[in-house]
Structure formats: C-alpha cells, structure tokens
C-alpha cells in the first residue's frame, strides 16, 4: 500500500515538473497526431488493395494500432524515461541518492522520471481503440474483455521486465543507450500483426524482443482469436520474466560501486 502511495507521489512530482513546460504539450500533440496519421495512412493504402492482411480485417487492425499507441505511449510516459535516467545515474554515480532512500530501489528507479505529455499517445490510442470497438460491434463478450485486460497486463509486465534487464546491463557496460534504439525499431514492427512475418522474425519479435506479447496478443484477445494456450503462455512468461528481471537487478546492483567509480 505504501508502495502505491510512493508511486503516486513520484507520478505527481513528475507531472508537476512537466506542467511547467506547457508549450511542450502542443509540440507533443502535433507529433503524436502525425505519428497516428502515418499509421492510419499505412492502413488505408494497404486495405485499399486487399480485404484482409494475414487474416486480419481492417477494423481488427485498427484495434491493433490503437493498442500499439496505448502500450507505446505508456512505456514512453514512465518506463523508458526512467530507464534512460537509470543508465545516466549509473554512469555518473548519482544512483547513490536513490539507493540510500528507505524504499525498494527497483521501484524507485522504475518510476523516477515521468514524461507527462507522452500521455497524448495513450489518449489518442484509446480513441482509435474506441472507434475500432464500435465498428467491431457486438463481437466483444465478457470473456474477450477479461482476456484482453489480462493479456495487456502480461504484455506490459513482459516489456517492463525486458527493458529493466536491458538497462541493468549498464552496470557492466556503460554505453547501452543504443540498445533502446534497437528496441524502438523492433517495437515499430509490432504495428502489424506478428503472424505476417516469416518465422525467424516472428520468433525474434516474440522471444528476443517481446513486442508480440505487448501488442498482437492483447489485440488477438480483443477480436476473439486468442486461444487459451497462448494466454496461459503469456501469463507464465510474464511471471517468469518478472522474477528473472528482479534477480538480475539484485545481481547488477551488487556490482554498483558508487560515485567515486
């Protein structure tokens, strides 16, 4: 409970910090709209020439694009900036200040930096998702809804753990900023259902950089094409990765030698 309160305090602090830069909101709004426009133009030109893509109809893919923006935006609001900050703190030795605080260090480093305006992506994504859901009509039952929420939570946990593991590498190798660039490039591949990719790329997008679990699987749950095995697999992988990233973090933090290093 106190952890939740801590999360809220950090989020509020970050938000207050960003509210000082209100003009950034408009810049972010324009950028997010442009990003969304590109995605929608892509869908439009593809579906002008075909009825289905890898078995997905256009409204189903619209839902997938919505999820892509919601998940990507959420990562950009808190996880990615915090991870970037963590790398910087490890490099400069300023992680000392976080470690001496009387709270769980992993929790603190995960929510340290908040980029509030990235929420625009999340809001736009929810909008797209809502439009897609209306167009899909009555196809969404209670089972699909539960499956969707569960799959989304697992996807978020998987991607978070994955990013934490990547960032923890910075205790050994200082220059890992570039790894996030690779992650971003791979994440963009998730704008299309992973089913269309050839096996080698699909496997990399599922297990090496797990964007499939973050985007395609929740979308599958929503449009009712997810089987129970995949969902259970996602739950299992999420729990396993959470444990592994926690373990890896504790190993990494032991290597940290402070500001004088």
């Amino acid at each position: 409970m106190s952890n939740l309160r801590l999360l809220w305090v950090f989020f509020r602090l970050g938000a207050l910090n960003e509210l000082a830069y209100r003009a950034n909101f408009f810049v972010q709004f324009i950028q997010s709209s442009l990003g969304l426009a590109t995605a929608l133009i892509g869908l439009a030109v593809v579906f002008a020439h075909t009825a289905t893509l890898g078995g997905w109809r256009s409204t189903e893919l619209l839902a997938l694009v919505g999820i892509y923006f919601v998940v990507g935006g959420s990562l950009n609001v808190v996880i990615k900036p915090s991870m970037q900050q963590l790398m910087e703190d490890v490099r400069l030795g300023t992680l000392d200040f976080t470690l001496t605080k009387p709270a769980d260090a992993q929790l603190l480093v995960s929510v340290k930096q908040v980029e509030l305006w990235e929420l625009v992506d999340v809001v736009l994504g929810i909008g797209v998702l809502a439009v897609a859901l209306v167009q899909l009509g009555a196809g969404i039952g209670i089972a699909e809804a539960i499956g969707f929420v569960l799959a989304l939570a697992c996807g978020a946990a998987i991607v978070y753990s994955f990013l934490l593991i990547l960032t923890t590498l910075s205790f050994w190798v200082v220059r890992v900023t570039n790894i996030l660039v690779v992650f971003q490039a791979m994440y963009e591949a998730g704008r299309w259902p992973v089913g269309i990719y050839p096996t080698w790329l699909r496997l990399s997008l599922t297990f090496i950089v797990p964007v499939a679990f973050a985007i395609t699987v929740p979308a599958e749950a929503l449009v009712g094409r997810l089987d129970l095995t995949t969902l259970l697999g996602a739950v299992g992988l999420a729990l396993a990765l959470l444990a592994v990233s926690r373990w890896f973090w504790t190993i990494g933090i032991r290597r940290y030698s402070g500001a004088s290093a």
Partner: protein, 286 residues
C-alpha cells in the same frame, strides 16, 4: 557588350572550375577525419543501420502478404516485384538519407555551431563529407543484406541496361536534392529550438510521398500528383522506379530533368535561407 561579356565568361569558366580544387583537398581531409571517428563508433553506426534495414523489410513483408492473399499480384506488382521494390528502396533510402535535421537542434542550442561558422568554408561541406563516409562504411553491410533479402524473398529484378545506367546519375541527383532540402529544413532551428514538430512533419511527408510505405502508383491519384509536384518523389521513389524497370526512357529523361530543376531551386532557397539565418544567430557562453 553582350558578346564581350559572353567571351569574358568563356575565359573565366575554366578558371572558376579550377577554383574548386581547394575543395578537393578539404574534402579529402574531412573524409580522413570522419573515417577515423566513425570507425571508432562502429556499434553506433550498426545500430542506426538496423532501423534502416528493418523498416523497408516490414513494408516488404506487409505488401508481399497483401499480394499473396490476392492471387500473387496487386496494382501491377507481383510478390517478387514488391520484394525488388523494397530491397532497392532500402538501398536508395539509405544512400540518400541525411540526419542533419536531428543534429542541428543541439548544434544551435548548445552553441557547437559557432566554431563551424568561423571556418572559412561553408559548414555544409563537412556535413556532406560525414554523410558520404557513413554511407561508404555502412554499404559494406547494407549491400550483402540487400542481396540476401532479395534471395530470401525471391525478388524479380530485371531492369533494362539503359535504366541501370540512368540509375547512377538519378541516384546522385536524388542524394544532392535530399541533402539540400533537408539542410534547408534543418535551418528552422535558427528561429526556434522546438523543432521536433517541424522535423516530424517533414518525416511524415517523406515517409508517404517518397514511396517508402508503398510504391506511389498504389496511392490514390491526388496523392500521386502531390508527390510529383513536390520534391519528395524525386528524392527516393524515382531512382527506385528506375532501377526496378518501372519507367519508360521518356519518363526517365523527364524525371532526371525534374530532379535537376528541383536541385537548382533547392540550392537557391538554401542560400537565401542560410544568409537570413546566419544573421539571426547569436552564440552564448563558452
């Protein structure tokens, strides 16, 4: 009067060509410097290359899938033709790409541009040298990757010989045109340091109108017209269409002339904006 002036130009011209020779030396020196520094940042170069390969690859796969679900051909492109289009696009995009727009902001904001302005040579030259060096180095990976992808996805690429010959000058013109245009757009930094939105607007236009999402012929006619009137088509899509054999000799000639005209306009615009921008520039601090 008119004739004598013409004669004067005839005499002057070879000398003005000679005036370029110091540039050769400067470029040679700049190449040596950037080659050394970029060899140090090998991993970074590889990582940027990763994105340049993945994006066309994604669209290659999307369009191959579309083609396969519609009986092996869409909008005049077979599955193999799509593969060829996007493999060539990957090469042309990387060879014409610039990243000056993303560097200019910190140059202006942090003042690292000041020493470059003090040099007795236009700062665009060191950017060109940097860019060409990066492309030279990454090509050692990019070309084998392109060949590999062409084999994996069964690309059907049989352009006529004349088209291949015309591809070389059109690629060169496309590179110059894109460089001049993007360098001019980058100068927006002199007026505002919040150029993120400007850069992204430009990036979206390039993405859609230069044929990176799909061959331009698959877009509705108004979009095609827009791409043709604006410089975007001539920066990427045109050399790609040329190399994949989608153009007639007449189209190719008209295209190269259009590229040259846009390039001339671009150079004029660059000079005008540059003079205007430099007057606004003021450095602070160190």
């Amino acid at each position: 009067m008119g004739v004598s002036r013409l004669a004067l130009y005839a005499v002057r011209l070879p000398f003005s060509a000679l005036r370029f020779s110091p540039y050769l030396g400067i470029y040679r020196a700049q190449f040596a410097v950037t080659l050394a520094s970029q060899l140090q940042y090998r991993v970074e170069a590889l990582i940027w290359l990763f994105g340049a390969i993945l994006q066309p690859l994604i669209y290659l796969i999307v369009w191959s899938t579309v083609s396969q679900t519609n009986g092996g051909s869409v909008g005049g492109y077979s599955t193999g033709a799509f593969a060829a289009y996007f493999v060539v696009l990957m090469l042309v995009n990387q060879w014409t790409d610039t990243w000056v727009m993303y560097e200019f902001e910190s140059r202006i904001r942090e003042g690292t541009f000041s020493p470059k302005l003090l040099r007795p040579i236009h700062p665009i030259h060191s950017d060109v040298a940097d860019n060409v060096t990066h492309k030279f180095l990454t090509s050692f990976i990019l070309i084998p990757v392109a060949v590999l992808l062409a084999v994996i996805f069964h690309a059907t690429l049989r352009p006529p010989l004349w088209a291949l010959a015309a591809f070389v000058p059109s690629l060169f013109l496309a590179f110059l045109l894109r460089f001049v245009v993007e360098w001019t757009v980058a100068l927006a930094c002199f007026w505002t340091t919040r150029v993120g939105a400007v850069n992204q607007m430009y990036a979206v236009a390039v993405m859609v109108l230069s044929g990176q999402m799909a061959p331009l012929s698959l877009f509705p006619p108004p979009v095609q017209t827009l791409a043709t009137i604006l410089p975007f088509r001539w920066m990427v899509a045109f050399p790609v269409d040329l190399a994949t054999g989608a153009l007639s000799p007449h189209d190719a000639l008209v295209g190269c002339v259009t590229q040259a005209v846009w390039l001339a306009l671009g150079v004029v615009l660059l000079n005008v904006v540059w003079r205007w921008a430099v007057r606004r520039y003021s450095a602070v601090g160190v």
